[in-house]
Amino acid sequence: MSTDAIALPGTELASQTFVARLHDWVTTVDHKRLGILYITYALVFMLIAGVEALMIRIQLIRPHNDFVSPQVFNRLFTMHGTTMIFFVIMPVMFGFANYLIPLMIGARDMAFPRLNAFSFWMTAFGGLLLYFSLVGANGLYGAGNAPDVGWFAYAPLTSQTFSIGHSTDFWILALLVSGFGSIGTAVNIIATVLCMRCPGMTLAKMPLFAWLNLVMAGLVILAVSPLTAAQIMLLVDRYLGGHFFDTQAGGSAVIWMHFFWVFGHPEVYVLVIPAFAFASEIIPVFSRKPIFGYSVMVGATIAIGFISMSVWAHHMFTVGMSSAANNFFVISTMAIAVPTGIKIFNWLATMWGGKIEFKIPMLFCIAFLFQFLIAGLTGIMQGAAPFDWHLGNSYFVVAHFHYVIVGGILFTLFAAVYYWFPKMSGKMCSETLGKLHFWLFIIGFHLTFDFMHIPGLLGMPRRIYTYEPGRGWDKWNFIVTIGVFFQAAGVLVFLGNLIWSYFRGKVAGSDPWDAWTLEWSTNSPPPAYNFASHPVVKSRRPLWDCKHPADPDWNYE
């Protein structure tokens, strides 16, 4: 049995046969290996979903284009959205949580290692099931293929009447299966954070990464379950003759929307809160200061978690709810901006008065701050319901949420990979390739997603496979598509950097960034047991206390 999580090439461990190494990885219950499996899985699906996005944008580069048929286009945007949310962002966040939480809290593994493995394989299987639809969904009428109902699958479009064949069923089953995996991981994270902290690490001394992932896990528990329930109902409708969403029998199409968005809105906070966690770990280190307002950051995140469960119908402003209901959701949506803004200000205050080092992770985090600010503000605009009666279901929304997910989440994800890659592999990433990645990607991001707001403001709805010339949308769509090529180039450089650095990167050592949390006290990569003996901590930055014994944190916290 190997003692290292990843065998560095050139050591005697690399002489294990390929089959033996594969077996180790497939049967592993080690949180570090599962973390890497999650992250690798997510990167593969990111490529696939990225190609889907590229095809969508090529089709939309000019009006009345015929690069793909309408049927293929509708499958492309459904698969792109479903893949990115469930099989890219969620797994990668679970992967980082799995890898880092035990190390940061001084534990040897997650609370339930076998449940951890089970959850990963459920998620992985779900993704494969979704893509199996391309071959397996034909059904009786030969009409099936990849699902084409949109990632939120509104009823009654998903009923047997309007979605014949099995494509919708693959959507349902893939998400049901991976949903069980998500709940398993969330249970594991909660149990680990609450029960496995090393001595001295009270909840108030835990790294913000652990806190924020705890909140995320709580949201998964409360939010993924409604989706599971709604999908069971949809299966009952489709196969047992049920009428949950059958408008002909008096059922309601709107109730699907409520159930879906009760899941869907907290889900986006499940995606973004781990991104906040990355920023909260990386920005302090490269500003050379502790995070400003630790307790407020925790409180704000918990507030965001709670409020996020009460805003869901801001996705339904056009559905015809009463003015009272609309007003309620306007207030709750705008209210959530307050704790979110507080977090941005706290990150700003962390940098203020510091000594900022523009290493690659910090470049991505700085870009995150600017971009997340804009994303949050366009969210406020849509929170004003009458304004949303225009902006909703238009390209403005598409621009907004990609601004959050790409400009916010993906940028911090890049930062996190560059920041923790040395810990996971023992090698530093190439700075040159990292900068090339950053510039290519940020130019492409802004070309695409800044200009994407404009067709929305000019009346272009979403989910259309083509559009009419003469509405003033043409040149904006052209620019949007060009940006995608820059982003694709950036991502390829990123992947090339990871591969090159794994083999040829400089040796990292245990603490290349001069950071302060416990994971940096282990070797890079850490041994399978993480810590030879349980660390004992007295403050939020145990390594700061070690490096500055004359001026430890515990005097000030």
């Binding site: 309408p70 509708n74 509104y154 009654p156 309007f162 408008t247 059922g251 199409a253 709107v254 500003s287 200061k289 400003f292 630790y294 056009t318 559905v319 015809g320 007003n327 207030i331 705008m334 901006a337 307050v338 803004g341 507080i342 706290n346 205050a349 940098m351 008065g353 000594k355 900022i356 080092e357 523009f358 700085i366 701050l369 600017f370 503000l377 406020i380 004003a384 319901a385 009458p386 304004f387 009666w389 225009h390 909703g392 279901n393 238009s394 130019i443 802004h446 070309l447 800044d450 200009f451 404009i454 000019l458 009346g459 709805p461 979403r462 496979y465 083509t466 003469g470 509405r471 003033g472």
Partner: protein, 349 residues
């Protein structure tokens, strides 16, 4: 070590230019011709009140953006690690309750202001009751076309909605009841109002009072299936006299015409009448658009093609050539039958 501070400035500079330049380009010329679906060119009271709200919201969020943007830019320039750094850590600051209080209270106040402005517009748009002289229209969404019924005026038509202009001093708004025959749709003509969804078993209501004559464009804004993209909207706003004339013409049943008897016979003995209505004849199908006054429309297939004899022939022969995935089946007619049928349809003015 090279100083990296200027990177921040350059990144910022390029981003600002790209964003701002784009915005200026977009709105420097919001004329009807280049941007017929521009949400910032309102021509009806609901659209105008939303426009007012949007300017307020944009001003507030713009101000917030500027303040935070400047602070962020300043911080990454001023507090970057200098080339002549002495290697010591900067003062370790853990937080400040006063500062946290300040940037909690001020956003709360901003949120309150935004909410009050929003609630006012919600009330205006949603809680207005139709006055006695309002035009009542029922819009029924289908995959992938629009059915319009004027219950008090006895008119049924499809895809092209005609409305009288509303004089701001003596308003004659139109109140539209929104229903659906199949899946969810959404009615969005940006210059006339925000979008409202058409959901089966969930009637909705909206109102508009277009204040300038002309043609207003839009399209379905809720994904409804394969041809969601070509479920286009055309709203013809006319003077009161022109509108009354149009109503009068639409109320007439189709008149018999011996010259196209063969075509009429083909229409009435093949599957056409299962789906289509031509009032005054045996055809009373409701699945597809009412064709009684087909030739009074400028487009066919919900705006997917101009209404010309060639397009009409093509549509009947092979709908997938114009709108692949629409629910109109290809009518397996030979050339002679097709010609006769088209000639008949051409008489339905």
């Amino acid at each position: 070590m090279r100083s990296r501070g200027s990177i921040g400035g350059r990144v910022l500079g390029s981003r600002v230019f790209v964003c701002f330049g784009g915005a200026v380009l977009a709105f420097a010329d919001p004329t009807q011709l280049t941007n017929p679906t521009n949400i910032f060119a309102p021509a009806s009271t609901p659209a105008k009140s939303i426009f007012g709200l949007s300017l307020f919201v944009l001003a507030v969020t713009g101000a917030i953006f500027l303040v935070v943007f400047v602070l962020l830019l300043y911080s990454i320039v001023r507090f970057r690690k200098k080339g002549n750094d002495d290697g010591r850590e900067p003062p370790q600051v853990y937080g400040s309750n006063q500062v946290e209080m300040a940037w909690t209270i001020i956003p709360i106040l901003i949120v309150v202001a935004l909410f009050m402005a929003t609630a006012r517009v919600i009330a205006l748009v949603q809680n207005t009751s139709p006055p006695g002289n309002a035009i009542a229209v029922t819009a029924i969404g289908h995959q992938f076309w629009w059915e319009y019924r004027y219950p008090q005026l006895g008119v049924v038509t499809a895809n092209e909605l005609h409305l009288p202009m509303s004089d701001p001093l003596h308003p004659t708004p139109t109140f539209i009841t929104l229903l659906s025959a199949d899946t969810d749709h959404s009615f969005w003509v940006p210059r006339l109002g925000g979008k409202t969804d058409l959901i089966p078993n969930h009637p909705n209501r909206m109102w508009i009072d277009p204040q300038e004559t002309g043609v207003y464009l839009g399209q379905c804004a809720q994904y409804c299936g394969t041809q969601h993209a070509k479920m286009l909207l055309r709203v013809y706003v006319q003077s009161k006299q022109d509108f009354d004339l149009w109503i009068h013409q639409q109320r007439q049943p189709a008149s018999a015409n011996d010259a196209v008897a063969q075509g009429q016979r083909i229409f009435e003995t093949t599957a056409c009448i299962n789906c289509h209505t031509v009032s005054g004849t045996v055809a009373n199908g409701r699945f597809g658009p009412d064709l009684t006054h087909l030739m009074s429309r400028n487009t066919i297939a919900a705006g997917a093609a101009p209404n010309t004899p060639e397009n009409l022939r093509l549509w009947i022969r092979n709908p997938n050539a114009i709108k692949p995935g629409s629910l109109m089946p290809a009518m397996e007619l030979n050339k002679q039958e097709l010609d006769a049928l088209t000639d008949y349809l051409e008489t339905l003015r």
